[in-house]
């Protein structure tokens, strides 16, 4: 590398290549699954106004997810402060490639979706917005780095940009009416000004940080900081090591998932109050949007709860945890209990408002059950338990993977699997009929669920052989799986909508609900003793 810019860009891109790739896949998972499912059922009607709403939501989700990957890739700028480089150079050669990548990713994913599904998503408007918004958010983060102002400043700027983006698709306080197909001159100038202002703010912020200047901490910020500290301070003596460790796990990680759900509900409720105020939309949004949020939060919870490392980048178990005088099975039980507690509280935070508000609007006659989404009318009896089971499966399985301290092979597996599925799907589009494709995926899911069942059995056999689980745990897990399968059979009996092969697949996948009981102690042992 002969120049400073090339060295800076190489370092940035090299350290973040996997995160960016992973986040690209994650950000596009939902649209790919959604559009594939819609097309399979012949419901891919791009003329439907709901598709504009879908576009607005999915593009922003993709921007958010890829942006999170970008933040990971950028890392702490302080690592570069000692280099003999001007602050403006540091900022330029991080901000510029970040903007270009952001625009490129947004443009390319829209173009790919257009090519595969013909959804006619606009390309340039969202791509240019994504680049400018990325710059603005990064700039604000650098400006308020290591201060309690950061979440508030990012929230404010992010919200303002989100609202502006919304106005490109129709009125601010109503549903979007059109795509942002053409970028006008004034819009171009606005985005350019945002980017320029972001650059100036970023240079100022990084300069301040480089000089070690801090922002004044007002009393109210300190008060918020204290308020946001997880849980209350333990006062009494712990009765056992397990109790102390559970307190540790909850204080360090367990609270995050319920807190995020609470935050999501407050944001969603606030949005509903400002933009909508329709009781029917509230119930539907709370139930369906909230259910989807629970899945996402399960993922987030798993990533946090399963991380036994010193920081977010290093998942290898640190000395402090590794030298607790606890056995691996004890530690695993505590961590699973922490995960269960976290999922349970998160679910309660969402389920209680769902039940209370549903009863309120139905009993007061604000909404007639008959007018609700047909899915809700059919799913009312299994949706709440499923919204508890789903996040548990996601959270516990992901946590077990994280607990190995070796997420790289699993990331590769997920990336490889996703890529293979995507490529296969595209290839099948052009080679098989709709019915044949459907058949193919059913068989593929059956194979995957068979592998899951066999894998779970194998995990239990290994854990039992290494005396990490007891026979009651094995029988209990088997009983739990049988109960879940029985529940699935009952649901089919009440409402026989799913083909038998799909039910068999689901039955196999339900093994994931109990697999963590065997996987967690094995994962911890693998991480703790290397």
């Amino acid at each position: 590398m002969r120049t400073v810019p090339s060295a800076l860009m190489w370092e940035f891109l090299n350290r973040g290549r996997w995160q960016l790739l992973l986040m690209t896949c994650m950000g596009n998972t939902i649209p790919l699954l959604l559009f594939t499912a819609l097309r399979t059922h012949g419901a891919l009607d791009t003329g439907d106004s709901a598709f504009i709403v879908m576009h607005l939501a999915l593009v922003q989700v993709n921007m958010f997810v890829f942006g999170a990957g970008m933040m990971l890739a950028l890392g702490q700028m302080s690592r570069l402060y000692a280099y003999p480089v001007r602050t403006s150079t540091l900022v330029t050669w991080h901000l510029l490639p970040a903007m270009v990548l952001m625009a490129l990713e947004t443009w390319l994913t829209s173009a790919v979706l257009n090519a595969i599904y013909d959804v006619q998503w606009p390309l340039w408007g969202p791509a240019l917005f994504a680049a400018a918004a990325m710059a603005a958010v990064i700039a604000v983060m650098w400006l308020t780095e290591k201060s309690a102002w950061l979440p508030w400043a990012v929230g404010l700027v992010g919200s303002a940009l989100g609202l502006w983006f919304k106005t490109r698709h129709g009125p601010l306080f109503d549903l979007p009416t059109h795509y942002w197909n053409d970028v006008t001159l004034s819009e171009g100038i606005t985005l350019s000004l945002i980017a320029a202002a972001a650059y100036a703010v970023a240079v100022y912020g990084v300069s301040r940080n480089r000089r070690g200047e801090t922002w004044p901490a007002l009393g109210i910020v300190a008060w918020f900081e204290r308020l946001s500290e997880p849980g209350s301070t333990a006062t009494g003596r712990f009765r056992s090591p397990a109790e102390a460790q559970l307190w540790f796990e909850w204080r360090k990680k367990g609270w995050a998932m319920p807190a995020c759900v609470f935050f999501g509900l407050v944001m969603g409720g606030g949005g509903w109050l400002v933009f909508n105020r329709d009781p029917k939309e509230l119930i539907e949004g709370l139930v369906m949007g909230g259910g989807a949020m629970m899945g996402a939060m399960g993922m987030l919870g798993g990533l946090i709860i399963g991380n036994c490392g010193l920081n977010d980048a290093n998942h290898a178990m640190g000395h402090f945890l590794a030298t607790r005088p606890l056995t691996n099975p004890q530690l695993a039980r505590i961590m699973l209990w922490n995960a269960a507690k976290s999922v349970w509280y998160a679910w309660l935070l969402w389920a209680i408002p769902v039940v209370v508000l549903s009863l309120l609007v139905v009993l007061t006659g604000s909404v007639s059950v008959a007018t609700l989404d047909p899915f809700l009318q059919q799913a009312w009896w299994w949706y709440l338990p499923a919204a508890l089971l789903g996040p548990w499966v996601i959270c516990a399985c992901l946590a077990a993977i994280m607990m190995t301290g070796r997420s790289q092979p699993f990331v590769s597996l997920v990336l490889g699997g996703f890529t293979a599925a995507f490529v296969t799907n595209v290839a099948l589009e052009y080679t098989l009929s709709s019915e044949q494709r459907s058949q193919f995926w059913r068989v593929a899911f059956a194979v995957v669920s068979g592998v899951i069942v066999l894998g779970t059995v194998w995990l239990f056999a290994i854990a039992r052989r290494r005396e990490m689980i007891t026979m009651p745990t094995v029988w209990g897990s088997l009983a739990a799986w049988c109960a879940l399968v029985a529940g699935l059979i009952v649901s089919q009996w009440v409402d026989p909508r799913l083909p038998v092969i799909v039910c068999v697949c689901f039955a196999g996948m339900l093994a994931l609900a109990v697999a963590p009981f065997a996987a967690t102690p094995l994962a911890l042992a693998w991480n703790r003793t290397r």
Partner: protein
């Protein structure tokens, strides 16, 4: 009355022919080491010599690829409660939970150790000038080390393991660790194993030393014995020689003409007789510092 050092009691740590590789690098190469009960055991070696790897085996954080590790007669991997429950450990990277307050850290750690001595913990907290309400993340490096030391000591462990305890610390904290703590524990008949590359510290407090170099133990012996058996001898020959004659027990040699200085391993009388045998006269003889012994051993 505590056992005298070295004790006849079973060793606290018994490592037998342990080998460990990381990729192509051999971190430990058939290392055997016995840490007897009581006293201070200094593990010295340069950066990357294998000190931390060896300590991680003792803590059960690494599984030997060959050989065995026993701590208190138990396998630390198979029996973490039985071993870690009797060990106090201060890591080199001062890995403590940043989000905890000092008071919480004490209360949390207490739960794992039935022998936790509340009065002693409070005494240490006061002596180390640690505010119980202070967050660990806000502590200075020295305060962090003191907090780590507090929770490692307050349960009066049978074995205190300190990995580079004083690296990066100011003299006051070093004095706390070395002067006040390590000797006290050893005097109570308990065992301290501490690794360091600051040899003057080891020389001051250690009763027994092991030198580790490139994954091998090159010397292990009581400190007094090491110092008694390592000497610098200046020999004068009858006439100028181009290359120094081989002296039995010599580890290294420097000089020129008729006078050569040897760093030797052996008793004074034996070495003098060996000098006579090659026709040289001893013109000067001095004992060595641990630093000089270490250098002569690892550069051999």
């Amino acid at each position: 009355m505590p056992d005298p050092f070295p004790s006849s009691a079973p060793p606290v740590v018994n490592i037998a022919r342990v080998t460990r590789q990381f990729g192509t690098k051999t971190a430990l190469d058939e290392v055997s080491l016995v840490v007897p009960r009581g006293g201070v055991f200094g593990l010295i070696g340069g950066n990357g010599a294998g000190k931390t790897t060896l300590i991680k085996h003792i803590l059960g954080m690494l599984q030997p690829q060959a050989g065995t590790v026993q701590v208190f007669g138990l396998d630390p991997v198979a029996n973490p409660v039985g071993t870690l429950g009797r060990i106090g450990y201060l890591s080199e990277d001062r890995d403590l939970p940043n989000w905890m307050r000092v008071g919480e850290l004490m209360r949390y750690t207490q739960a794992f150790f039935p022998n936790w001595d509340e009065a002693y913990a409070e005494e240490l907290r006061s002596a180390f000038d640690l505010d119980p309400k202070a967050k660990v993340q806000n502590l200075s490096r020295g305060q962090r080390a003191r907090a780590g030391l507090l929770v490692a000591l307050a349960h009066r462990p049978d074995l205190l393991v300190l990995d580079e305890p004083s690296s990066g610390l100011d003299p006051v904290v070093r004095r706390d660790i070395l002067g006040a703590i390590i000797r006290t524990i050893a005097d109570e008949g308990r065992t301290v194993l501490f690794s360091s590359h600051l040899l003057d510290e080891v020389e001051r407090v250690a009763d027994r030393v092991a030198i580790i170099h490139q994954g091998r133990i090159v010397l292990t012996a009581p400190m007094d014995e090491i110092k008694d058996t390592h000497r610098r001898m200046t020999l004068r020959f009858g006439q100028s020689v181009d290359r120094p004659p081989t002296l039995v027990g010599a580890l290294s040699c420097d000089g020129g003409g008729a006078e050569w200085t040897y760093i030797c391993n052996g008793e004074s009388g034996q070495l003098r007789r060996a000098a006579d045998a090659i026709g040289a006269t001893v013109v000067d003889e001095a004992s060595l510092s641990l630093d000089e012994i270490f250098v002569s051993r690892v550069l051999k």
